[in-house]
Symmetry: C2
């Protein structure tokens, strides 16, 4: 296995660019990931792994996830400065990969249930919502173009592999709402809006969650068919965006039984 030691190696340079720049990911059509589990999830989900970079320690770890490496085109040993440069997480496992961004498998099921994230900026929130939507059997997530990048390492990490499994579409939200034929529900913080407890989510619907700081704007709400709110009993003024999404996903999933 070829060994890479220098942080100036072009492969290390490319990795760093893909890790830090959304624009580079779009241009190259590639993204990076880190960690045993995420690499395994990528391979199992049919993601094309172009190159894997592994420290000697990771190779000698005996972790069963390494079996996934049989699906990897090229693997390199990394050491010294090169390995130090690749590590982005707080407790790096010495496993890094460059992957091809797959074509989105997203397709509108006229009887499906979807979550739409409109302008979310926190990668942890976006990843967590994708994970929850996957766990509760939603048909997909629609991510507005102004939201944070699906293929950022932080989103992928928070999604724990669900970003590879669940169909996700990145698209201008307004056009999607107009053309998809789905019934849309705008989640709002407004006691005069219909309560989630009185709402039935019909087959073929999408629930929209707005930006962390401001929620959905009036204009965004006006593009949706319905409004819906979560009644609050305590004194907190609102929910964290991911928490609100979780409650909506849970209620939508329950309606599917």
């Amino acid at each position: 296995m070829e060994e890479i030691r220098s942080k100036d190696n072009p492969r290390v340079q490319l990795y760093m660019k893909l890790a830090s720049q959304k624009k580079a990911r779009a241009q190259e059509g590639k993204f990076v990931l880190e960690g045993f589990k995420l690499l395994q999830e990528a391979v199992l989900s049919g993601i094309e792994v172009e190159a894997a970079y592994l420290t000697r320690e990771s190779l000698e770890s005996g972790r069963e996830e390494l079996e996934a490496l049989s699906g990897v085109r090229q693997a390199f040993l990394v050491s010294g400065a090169a390995a130090g440069r690749l590590a982005q997480s707080r407790s790096p496992q010495g496993v890094y990969a460059v992957c091809k961004i797959p074509e989105s498998r997203f397709a509108v099921n006229p009887a499906g249930k979807y979550i739409g994230l409109w302008g979310l900026q926190d990668p942890g929130n976006v990843g967590t919502v994708i994970r929850t939507a996957d766990a509760l059997g939603m048909d997909g997530v629609v991510l507005s173009e102004g939201s944070c990048d699906l293929y950022s390492l932080k989103v992928l990490r928070a999604a724990m592999g669900s970003a590879f499994r669940l169909p996700v579409l990145v698209t201008p939200m307004e056009a999607f709402l107009r053309e998809s034929g789905l019934t849309s529900f705008a989640s709002v913080v407004d006691t005069s809006a219909p309560s989630i407890l009185d709402t039935r989510f019909p087959p073929g619907c999408i629930l929209l969650i707005g930006n962390e700081g401001n929620g959905l704007s009036d204009e965004q709400v006006s593009k949706c068919t319905h409004r819906v709110t979560i009644p609050m009993k305590g004194r907190a003024e609102s929910f964290n965006a991911a928490m609100a999404a979780t409650i909506f996903i849970w209620e939508m999933a329950r309606g599917m039984d």
Copy 2:
């Protein structure tokens, strides 16, 4: 208003120590907070604010939250290196305060509903659960002694003031479960455990959430009266701890109607 310019000023030094060290907070019985909103929430909740540090820009901002300053014992102007040192957040507002840790207002209501966090390590998760528990009208949160510190800035920020409003108890969890008289439910990832959909949460109960990485250990589960699980429909293996807590809180709150 007295002005503090040097980062070596003892008040700045104390602030830094309280901001970074749990031990210092315990010894001094004080914590720090940052931002207009959090300062306002603290004052409105009866937290004793010993000293506030404000940049000229924040004072001239005309923000209505500054009215809360009338409840503050001492206020100082900070500038230059001192102001730079105090800022812990990514977009600092120039508002900092040292507060007294209040006595916990937590008391067991024999008909109440509680959330127990047993060994949670992520301050964002702990803060978010406290915020959600507040918003949905839980009676309190019990935080195990091994969890991350309630008065860390990251917990307070994620809780958005709910850490001041909702009664929170920090205590050894096992003894609490034994002595509180509450019916306890261990949340587990185990398809053989009773589903949350078939569970009624009785008055006087507490739902336990385990560590982010491992969930509740078998030993922790054995200290609880019941087990309960969230059925998963998709392919994700588990929920984020805060997401699981949100679903449980939502279902417990619904049972209170």
